[in-house]
Amino acid sequence: MSTVEQPDRETELAELVEQHRARRAEGSERRHYDLDDRGFNEVPKKWRKFYRHWLGAGDTLAPNEIICPVCKVVIRSVKEIRAGDRLYCMPCMSRLLVVEADDGTLVPEVVY
């Protein structure tokens, strides 16, 4: 009887990650978000929905959010944030470039 070799879990996961990366590289559709005003009053009204305060322990970031490394405000995008995105932090005027860290997390770098 012939046997079919089953892929091990590690290989399966590696393939899934590769597929995920490939989809991202192809520019697969991003999730969009409707932003609500979270009471951040440090910028003019028109832009308030794009920011919120970090609430400390217990708070978590959504896929469309990232913390400004300069002023610690949470920046909110209408799209899921991905590596290569450019963001602007109005409260501290910093321009940020999102990069992928070695561990796969997204981190904002300040562009001077």
């Binding site: 009053n41 440090e42 322990a57 490394p69 300069v70 932090c89 409260p91 501290c92 300040v110 001077y112």
Partner: protein, 296 residues
């Protein structure tokens, strides 16, 4: 050039600050809020509040002198314009913290003598190191000292004080919230403006780093005086507050419960937070954090 300032204008500052988070405030807080009666009525609590507020006035007077001095030293008009708004921010901070001293019962005629009596000598030296650079017209050192070192320290100190005051003293907490919002712009300017200038003038690194080490030394000495050196008073104040039922049950800040922490623990968490921020911010703009000698 200061391209990051292309979106910044006096109009933007008006919309963010006076017409934004300061709208409907009086001296930085909601008009109906007052200092807690117990804080004004109990001599131990009042004196400790005055001591803390005096350090804020001293720090903000230094920031006012530095930012106004840097207007003329700035090499481009966008930076001058930003520093003009920062000058008004700092003048406001001096005013609101001075007003708090009056609310705590300090007489206007006694203001200067109260500042002389309670100002921490190490904080005064910290300010002198910075103002020497500003008076010499040294824009790079002045902005690093003012907008990264001084403002970086103020950012964490204000956050810590706000966490402790949020429940027990909403008036002071609101006052601090507005100043923290101002500090975001100030540290943003410091990093973004100096980030590009340091790349253009790498020969200035050693001199600027030496100033940072000197300022850091005096800052740590100020923290040591305020917590370890003042431990008996801090503990007594806490005991009096507890007996009066005043103060928060818990006040979480950077993983530490400030309501239960010893003066040594409070000093450690503040110093670790500020130094961690210094290292990160300086590293981002191409400067290497210099450890100062440990204050006695």
């Amino acid at each position: 050039m200061a391209d990051f300032l292309s979106q910044y204008s006096i109009q933007r500052w008006l919309e963010m600050c006076p017409q934004g988070y300061l709208e409907d405030t009086v001296y930085g807080h909601s008009p109906e809020l007052k200092e807690p009666v117990i804080l004004v009525g109990n001599e131990t609590l009042r004196e400790e509040s005055i001591r803390t507020t005096v350090q804020l006035v001293v720090g903000e007077r230094c920031a006012l002198a530095a930012s106004s001095g840097l207007v003329n030293a700035a090499p481009d008009f966008p930076s001058k314009r930003f520093l003009a708004t920062q000058t008004l921010d700092e003048a406001r901070h001096v005013e609101i913290f001075t007003r708090r001293l009056f609310d705590l019962g300090v007489k206007e005629d006694d203001l200067e003598s109260t500042l002389d009596e309670f100002a921490n000598p190490n904080l005064v030296k910290f300010a002198e190191v910075l103002l020497e650079k500003v008076e010499a017209g040294d824009f790079i050192a002045g902005v690093v000292g003012q907008n990264i070192v001084l403002e970086g320290m103020a950012f964490s100190v204000f956050e810590m004080l706000e966490a402790v005051s949020r429940e027990a003293n909403p008036k002071f907490a609101e006052t601090l919230t507005g100043t923290i919002a101002d500090e975001r712009r100030h540290v943003g300017f410091g990093e973004n403006r100096i980030g590009s200038l340091i790349r253009e003038h790498p020969e200035r690194k050693a001199d600027v780093e030496k100033m940072q080490a000197e300022m850091t030394y005096h800052m740590l000495a100020t923290f040591a005086d305020s917590f370890r050196g003042n431990a008996a008073v801090v503990e007594e104040t806490r005991a009096v507050a507890a007996a009066e039922g005043f103060g928060p049950e818990t006040a979480e800040w950077h993983g530490t419960d400030l309501a239960a922490a010893s003066p040594e623990e409070m000093e450690a968490i503040l110093a670790d937070t500020v130094l961690g921020e210094f290292k990160t911010r300086l590293g981002r703009i191409g400067l290497e954090y210099q450890s100062p000698p440990v204050p006695a």
